[in-house]
Symmetry: C2
Subunit: 315 residues, 2 copies
């Protein structure tokens, strides 16, 4: 099982290549929530998301022989851009399988880093077939978005920095999709600040991790519909085991709550975050008793979204 020392080593490996993103706070958000909130701004990370930490760690720890074959993944989101940039930095090829339906802006970002894109139909079966074919043709090393120890360790480095940048927290909240970020965060926090609880934040409309933790059985996410498009995936056995051991609870937020939390972050903190990144604040606002008067670290996971399509309403 992964140890904190693995995250610590990952941090040493990537530290010169990732941004040490700031931790921000807002008096008015603290007043609204009745808690002391500290936001780790991974929206300012390279490629605009924490995903760069894990992808870079995975790429930098390949042997030269492995690296020479290039890396591959399937993702329509931040992991694709992160792996593409990490591969470009090591000057090796990146092969990305993306659904045809991926937003043009994300396709452009991945191409901009020089990755080769293979498009597939937007189904699980088509994706699996496409990635299998790419791996066979290229011999590239598959880097899973979250079911990968190197990736999990890289994601955990955000929490390591956050704990150095804020007072000792009572709670740390990270969003959970596949569970890579939450797993890394939980291992880091349980070692560095063992009195703090670690809580996962999930959309109610994609609450498979919540149901998995409460039932003790891995429940898959089936066709979830949420604006938090970074949190659609299901836990893996690996992330589920880590979460069961180190995470206190997983709490869910409504779509309306996520949109409101996102707008508050934009309006009060003047920073751009994507819907998935607003889920931890939405959880705080929808569970006020749980967080009252607590010191809370929240990971703002990313800032990539289509600016022409925002869920804000006129006031």
């Amino acid at each position: 099982m992964l140890q904190f020392s693995d995250i610590s080593k990952a941090h040493e490996i990537i530290i010169g290549h990732v941004h040490r993103t700031p931790v921000l706070s807002s008096r008015s958000l603290n007043a609204i929530c009745g808690a002391q909130l500290y936001f780790k701004c991974e929206n300012f990370q390279k490629v605009g998301a924490f995903k760069f930490r894990g992808a870079l760690h995975a790429v930098l720890t390949l042997t030269d022989a492995q690296a020479g074959r290039g890396v591959a993944t399937h993702s329509s989101g931040n992991h694709a851009a992160a792996l593409a940039l990490a591969a470009a930095m090591r000057k090796i090829p990146a092969y990305i399988v993306m659904p045809q339906s991926a937003p043009a802006v994300k396709q452009k970002a991945v191409k901009g880093y020089g990755a080769r894109i293979t498009f597939c139909r937007p189904t699980l079966a088509a994706r699996e077939e496409a990635i299998a074919q790419v791996l066979q043709q290229t011999g590239a090393v598959f880097i899973h978005p979250y079911d990968d120890e190197k990736v999990i360790c890289g994601q955990g480095t955000a929490a390591v920095e956050m704990l150095e940048q804020m007072p000792p927290p009572d709670v740390v909240i990270a969003p959970v999709g596949g569970g890579g970020l939450l797993s890394g965060t939980a291992i880091a926090v349980s070692h560095l600040c063992p009195t703090a609880r670690v809580i996962g934040a999930e959309p109610k409309n994609a609450d498979d991790a919540c149901r998995s933790l409460h039932s003790g059985n891995l429940v898959p996410s089936i066709d979830p519909q949420t604006m938090a498009d970074g949190l659609l995936t299901s836990l893996s056995l690996r992330t589920f085991e880590i979460i069961r051991r180190h995470v206190s609870d997983i709490l869910a937020a409504t779509e309306g709550g996520i949109a409101m939390a996102m707008e508050l972050i934009w309006e009060r903190m003047k920073i751009v975050v994507e819907p998935s990144a607003a889920v931890p604040l939405a959880v705080v606002m929808e569970h006020p008793d749980t967080f009252k008067n607590q010191t809370v670290g929240l990971i703002l996971s990313g800032g990539n979204l289509d600016l022409a399509r925002l869920p804000f309403r006129p006031k």
Copy 2:
């Protein structure tokens, strides 16, 4: 005439009460513009705009007798919120004259700081009449949004900080509406970095300052139509004189250029800025030869806008 020492004194007075906002840069924006750009993020200032510096300086330098009468102004924008907060901090009344048409969100902000709002019809005559009546009834001290030495000195403190936070610039660009920020910036830069040019940035659709500087006569701004709603006002004789002495040029940007610059700042820097704040970057992008390979300081003036009404287009 105002001296740098006046700005220096203003900085000492307000320094414990304003945020020392960060200076950010973006590799991808530098690549796009072919220049080294440093952005002074006054969108992170209290009330979300540089205006707080000038309003606070004006309020803190009132005698106790003056302060006891309270302060008043007319503004539907950032100066209103800035004066309201500054007055609240000194625990004195603030009286704000606002057009009935001011956005609800701005009315709410001003009320939230405890100011008393007098509404008027959205014409110059109605506004003048309303403010005259408020001043007569209350005896409050009128704090003009920009035609005021204390205000100008306060605004100049943003440039003082920026020059400490970046390499020596070849050019500093500030947006220009009434000219308070540009005047303070020009006095500060011409003293601290005399080799640097200071350039004003203005919407083409409200280019009265540009025409004033080029013709040598103060040209008023008549019913301008621009999304940069902080830059609608005309220069005063006071700001015009300072600008003539210390500003190299005023360059204008199109509405399309302002929208594109704003979107690039949001997308690449992950920060929320209002249209007026994007005008300096728009000027750089529309005058590439002027800024090629230069080190440029740009003041991002504020981050207050209606998030439900953005000028971005689907990609």
